[in-house]
């Protein structure tokens, strides 16, 4: 237990150093989202001559709303929701290839002293989860500051804004639905996907791991199915919000199952697979 604590401590410190520029990238990314939401609100308020002040939840709802189920029969163009798509790829970029970078130089000292490849992989999975949480925290802090300056520093949904900007009936979003669909599921799903990305990165080159994530993100936007977990990070795919949506409680269970399965699979494959060989 003590070893994994120090391995994680090393990963957080070294990962933070390695990711420093990515913190700035994340801040800029969320500032762009906020500016986009704000400009849309502004157009609406000017047009309707009403005073709308978006809250923290309004911004978050907009960023994680995703898109409704795509129906190719309706002859509408398939447009990936930009904010949601950028968040998913932003997380993949934020988690980055630090785990593979840590298999050389300074990282060798830690690998050998860990005494166990499985323990080392577990610490990298935990690092990925922590990095994902960091990404969300940075995002929420930026949104909160923006709301403080250009809206209302409140943790509630505005019905009019929800309907106009996100096309979501805020009345159906109770507190518990908001917590599970807007706060818990996007984060939990991102953690599951980032752990998958990390384990995959130890087996194939990081670039292929990124490509796999892009495919999963795009496919999740196109198909509404439990088999593509990034569906769970879209509010527009959840049953309390849209008819025929996915059950958020089943999604939580699948996410937890995916996380456990990926870590076990990672440990099992890494015992036999020479993950240090890729860079030779």
């Amino acid at each position: 237990m003590k070893k994994i604590f120090y391995l994680i401590k090393h990963d957080i410190k070294d990962g933070a150093r390695y990711n420093f520029k990515k913190y700035i990238f994340t801040v800029i990314l969320f500032l762009v989202f906020c500016a986009d939401v704000y400009s849309q609100y502004k157009i609406h308020t000017e047009r309707c001559n009403v005073l709308f002040q978006p809250t923290i939840c309004d911004y978050i709802l907009y960023i994680f709303r995703g898109m409704r189920e795509y129906d190719p029969n309706l002859s509408e163009a398939f447009n990936i929701p930009a904010a949601w798509f950028a968040v998913q790829l932003g997380i993949a970029y934020f988690v980055g290839n630090y785990p593979t970078k840590d298999t050389e130089g300074y990282g060798i000292q830690y690998i050998i002293r860990s005494g166990s490849k499985c323990l080392w992989v577990a610490s990298k999975c935990i690092y990925s989860a922590i990095a994902t949480v960091q990404f969300y925290l940075i995002g929420y802090v930026v949104v909160a500051f923006w709301a403080l300056l250009f809206g209302r520093f409140e943790f509630s949904l505005s019905e009019d804004i929800g309907m106009y900007i996100s096309n979501i009936n805020a009345e159906v979003i109770t507190d518990s639905i908001f917590v599970i669909c807007v706060l818990v599921l996007p984060l939990l799903t991102s953690i599951a996907v980032s752990i998958f990305q990390t384990v995959l990165m130890l087996v194939v080159r990081p670039i292929y791991s990124y490509l796999a994530i892009i495919v999963i993100v795009s496919a999740s936007a196109y198909y509404k199915t439990y088999f593509l977990p990034l569906n769970y990070s879209m509010i527009f795919r959840m049953s309390p919000i849209v008819a025929g949506g996915l059950d958020p409680y089943i999604a939580v269970i699948i996410d937890i199952f995916l996380i456990i399965l990926t870590v076990i699979f990672g440990c099992a494959i890494i015992r036999k697979f020479d993950f240090l060989e890729k860079r030779l």
């Binding site: 120090y6 090393h10 070294d14 150093r17 060798i108 830690y110 050998i112 240090l276 060989e277 030779l280």
Partner: protein
């Protein structure tokens, strides 16, 4: 035997980098590895360290199969490739951070290992400001600080001045007398012959004991 390498073959990208290597090693001896660049010396040291897994064959350490029973040797100090540490910390702080994982080395052990390689304990300079020779010495200090049973040193004399070479040679002999099994790769035959108990010749991925 303490360490047995049994028919060890490693193929990377269809290239055989280690070919059917079978060797055995005893405790408390210094084994020197000699060979041309790209002959497989470093790869063999990686194999002993558990940093690569065999395509065929196995390595047993005290009866335990590396990569099967254990991921890495239970007690090992390694200097492979160029040493790399955190640039913004002093040498001692870097050692402290690495030593935290196993918790085997005391602060006195870390300070002693710095002294043994000729680095000053109170030096406030950060690793980023170290010369190449000092970086190499810190790498050696990290390898010996936990008093490992197996010490793997790949070209430890690189970038060292004459006086430091002598100092590290004496240190390696001291490690052997402590009971450590030392694996040493060095391109300088004169240095190698002066301290090793046995020399292993590595050629085209094959290894044999020198006569």
């Amino acid at each position: 035997m303490y360490i047995d390498i049994v028919n060890y073959t490693k193929i990377i990208k269809k290239r055989t980098v280690l070919a059917d290597v079978s060797l055995n090693f005893e405790r408390g001896k210094i084994y020197g590895f000699r060979g041309a660049n790209g002959s497989g010396k470093t790869m063999l040291l990686r194999a002993i360290s558990g940093l690569i897994t065999p395509t065929f064959g196995e390595i047993r350490i005290d009866g335990e199969i590396l990569g099967n029973d254990i991921s890495f040797p239970r007690s090992i100090g390694v200097l492979i490739e160029s040493p790399a540490f955190l640039a913004s910390y002093t040498g001692l702080r870097n050692l402290e951070l690495i030593a935290e994982i196993k918790g085997d080395a005391t602060k006195e052990d870390l300070e002693k290992s710095l002294c043994l390689v000729g680095l000053e304990v109170g030096d406030r300079r950060t690793y980023g400001k170290y010369s190449l020779g000092m970086k190499q010495k810190l790498g050696i200090a990290a390898a010996i600080m936990e008093k490992p049973d197996i010490l793997v040193l790949d070209e430890p004399f690189n970038a060292l001045d004459e006086e430091s070479v002598l100092q590290i040679q004496n240190l390696i002999i001291d490690e052997k007398e402590r009971g450590a099994t030392v694996f040493l790769a060095c391109h300088d035959a004169q240095i190698l012959d002066s301290i090793v108990d046995e020399t292993i010749i590595v050629e085209n991925g094959m290894a044999r004991r020198a006569q």
